[in-house]
Amino acid sequence: MKALYFAWVRERVGTAEEELDPPPTVKTVGDLIAWLRERGEGYALAFDKPAAVRAALDRVHARSGASIAGVKEVAFFPPMTGG
């Protein structure tokens, strides 16, 4: 699946976009965050407090327990500050 990162999540991870191929044991958004944290220092920093990071699956807001099965695009970002 394609992963997108925005704002300070992007800066900490060090890339805006990448392809992810998580193992089958990674089933939810929360699992994916835990798996990403092991990928390196930047990821560990970005997902240091998982509750501070929001996620979207195929461009729809998703909670930590949401299944990533069949998802084409996952995005991680801080709480929104538009408007």
């Binding site: 925005f6 704002a7 979207a56 729809v60 995005a75 801080p78 929104m80 500050t81 408007g83």
Partner: protein, 154 residues
Amino acid sequence: MASVRVQREDFDPGAEAGALAHGRTDVGAVVSFIGYCRDEGGSLAALELEHYPGMAEEEVARAASEAEARWPLLGATVIHRYGRIAPGEQIVFVAVAAAHRGAAFAAAEMLMDYLKTRAPFWKRAIRSDGAVEGWIESKQEDDRSAARWSAAAD
């Protein structure tokens, strides 16, 4: 029905609001809101707005659909800018048309509350000395403001 635009360019709020009522006789009220880039301490050079292309438009459209399901609206326009925006410049525009003002006021307020808390935009402050100050933090006050609409729906 709602017109949703996410763009770098500025917009003409008078023309946008007027267009909602132009050529029709059933519109009794158009409520519009303009959000500006504000410099609180005199040290802000600009805001840099990042967004999630695609989702930003879709999320605003979802909020507009919720507003349309809730109030009898006759039209809505939402414009949100991204990129570098200087103090005094316009950032966001919401206008809602309805037969009566109550629905138009309420829907415009709900749309703004949802925009602030659910639309994927992030602001970063750039100071006058050129330093990047970092990402603006979300406000609990905005979450509480947005939560009013879901609480009222229960």
